[in-house]
């Protein structure tokens, strides 16, 4: 029987080829994210920009008349932009305090047993599909808002009743939807505050509440800011949950107006739009994309600052 010599140098060549192929494949995989963002940016610009030259930048961005199917079509998206900004801002104003305080409860106050109930609840909220929030919005929040509307505008001759599908309902749905995002990230930030900060503050005679609001929250500032920015991104990009809740008529953003957001503007007309109308819908997408990119860059700056501090 012939004995095969085993050398540790034996398969050196094949090994190095395998090694190099493996590294090349992994590098390629890592580049996928880069390529994807590049492709998305390019295609959003390619499909969104032509309408600017055909209709005019001023006529799209700064005109408030949206009449794409009129004989003299108008494509002003000013109200949609303002609705998205106002709606997101107010949703943040309602949602963030609740979310941050819930995070405070989870990391500072709640006993282990209670936290064990609250935390999974928050995680589940994050997983619920946005259409489900939309469905509940239509059937629970809208009727409530309609009653409020009837009460407030009982004597008004000019008010156009929305049946509850208005900006206010949409804001409430958005505020609920951003809760889990903001809670989870804020809680992580609060837990990352070193224990000796709390100990020092308490030893100096501060009460627990003083410690939380004067020591722990300021120390977790950049993490909470990150949470708020991510929440903003989530709120401004949400479409399906508010599509049927916001009323979907192009109006200036007031509480009891039926309104249209940037996102719902795209979804509600994409299925039948053609020609310039379709291109303008892509322009709306481009505007939304720009908002998101700005939010992302702000986020990146905050994260960098936070990393420098620690």
């Amino acid at each position: 029987m012939k004995e095969k010599t085993i050398s540790i140098m034996g398969s050196h060549k094949t090994k190095s080829i395998v090694e190099m192929t493996a590294q090349a494949i992994f590098t390629l995989c890592a580049l996928a994210a880069l390529i994807a963002v590049g492709a998305i940016t390019i295609y959003m610009i390619i499909s969104g920009a032509p309408a600017f030259t055909k209709v005019g930048i001023k006529e799209i961005l700064f005109s408030s008349v949206w009449a794409p199917s009129a004989s003299d079509p108008q494509y002003g998206i000013l109200w949609m932009i303002l609705t998205s900004i106002v709606g997101t801002f107010l949703a943040i104003c309602i949602g963030v305090p609740i979310a941050v305080l819930t995070a405070v409860f989870l990391s500072e106050i709640g006993s282990k047993r209670v936290t064990k109930i609250v935390k999974p609840a928050v995680e589940l909220l994050a997983g619920i599909p946005s259409v489900v929030y939309g469905l509940l919005g239509i059937l629970l929040i809208c009727p409530l808002m309609y009653r409020l509307e009837q009460f407030i505008f009982a004597d008004s001759q000019t008010h156009q009743f929305t049946g509850g599908a208005n900006l206010f309902s949409a804001i409430l749905v958005l505020a609920i939807m951003i809760l889990p995002t903001v809670i989870n990230i804020s809680e992580t930030a609060l837990r990352a505050v070193p224990q000796h900060y709390r100990a020092s503050s308490l030893a100096l005679g501060a009460t627990k509440i003083q410690t939380i609001f004067k020591v722990v929250l300021p120390a977790a500032k950049s993490g909470i800011l990150t949470a708020i920015v991510l929440g903003t991104g989530r709120a401004i990009g949400e479409a399906m949950a508010i599509l049927l809740v916001a009323g979907n008529a192009v109006n200036p953003p007031e509480f009891f107006h039926s309104v249209r957001f940037l996102t719902t503007g795209i979804v509600s007309e994409m299925s039948y739009a053609s020609g310039i109308h379709r291109e303008v819908l892509f322009t709306i997408g481009l505007v939304l994309f720009l908002f998101i990119m700005v939010i992302n860059i702000i986020l990146n700056i905050i994260l960098k600052k936070g990393a420098k501090q620690s």
Binding site: K15, F26, Y43, T102, T207, G233, L244, F289, N296
Partner: protein
């Protein structure tokens, strides 16, 4: 100013010696701060809001959805001929899209994470990759929908099809898979690596036989989180995979050809039912979706727990 006077609240300077002021200023007795109690109450209230929201949502969906979920609802397709309405085709499409998306994205996501943790040595490229991964997770699904429709649908010529939808979703959940895998790889002790390399293993051999198996539970968690995102997705699929609810012909290559046909998932069907004001079936689907989400949550919990006890 003498602070005892301000504490008594009567506005005049107190002439009495401090030791009589046991109630306000002793270190032996806690001063009750009203503001503290109010804030504490607000914090409890906020935590209660989050729990009540979930309980309310679950309760309401179960209450309205349970009557709609029958065996017929789950096991038939809509048919004008038989007069049935069921979501079997949507369930099938959802599973089909999940499998297809994961087949595309899991290798890429894991590969990307391996590059970032095992091969990359910092520098501009890595920072760019990390920034773009971050960006991808921030882009709203409606933008993915538009991009998927233009790029995969029109430029690549796939049209309205399940494959278009799966490719779009693959980009969308790439950051989830990459991030969780990266975290999992980071938890593998450095001694495993030095040990394997010290015994003469090559890098790829070490990754294949030591690193990946140790990081497996974390990777599985990432995949499950990705499934959760796919199940709940609607805006990105509306313009890419469409809304047809028909079962494929199971004979021959029908099951593969199905990828090139339009197919609506559960969330899409739910949205369509909503717009038609068919709330009964919408709630039925919502209940099915909630059950899936709950299952996914429990599964990730279970795996994470197992991971913790292993280490």
């Amino acid at each position: 100013m003498n602070q005892f006077a301000t504490r008594t609240g009567d506005g005049v300077l107190s002439k009495e010696p401090p030791y009589q002021f046991v109630s306000g200023n002793s270190i032996y007795q806690k001063k009750v701060r009203m503001g503290d109690n109010v804030l504490l109450g607000v914090i409890y209230f906020c935590a209660a809001v989050s729990v009540c929201l979930l309980a309310g949502i679950m309760g309401y969906v179960i209450y309205r959805g349970l009557p709609a979920v029958t065996w017929e609802f789950l096991s038939t397709v809509p048919s004008a001929l038989k007069g049935t309405f069921g979501i079997l085709a949507n369930i099938f499409n959802t599973i089909y899209i999940i499998v297809l998306t994961l087949l595309i994205v899991t290798p890429i996501g894991i590969g990307s994470a391996i590059y970032l943790t095992e091969y990359a040595k910092g520098g501009k490229l890595v920072r760019m990759i990390e920034f773009t991964t971050e960006t991808l997770s921030g882009i709203p699904s409606i933008i993915y929908g538009l991009f998927g429709m233009v790029f995969f649908g029109v430029v690549c010529g796939l049209g309205f099809s399940i494959l278009t939808g799966a490719l779009t979703l693959a980009i969308m959940i790439l950051p989830i898979i990459t991030r969780t895998t990266q975290e999992a790889l980071k938890t593998v002790p450095e001694s495993y690596r030095t040990g394997a390399l010290g015994m003469g293993a090559t890098k790829w051999y070490m990754i294949r036989t030591i690193i990946l198996p140790s990081a497996m539970p974390g990777i599985v968690t990432g995949v499950i989180l990705g499934i959760g995102r796919i199940v709940g997705e609607s805006a990105a699929l509306l313009f890419t995979a469409g809304s047809v609810n028909m079962l494929p012909k199971l004979a021959g290559t029908g099951i593969f050809e199905h990828a090139l046909k339009s197919g609506g998932t559960l969330t899409i069907q739910m949205y369509l039912s909503m717009t038609k004001a068919d709330y009964a079936s919408a709630f039925g689907i919502a209940l099915v979706l909630l059950a899936v989400v709950l299952g996914i949550n429990l599964l990730t919990k279970y795996i994470t727990k197992k991971l913790d006890t292993n280490h």
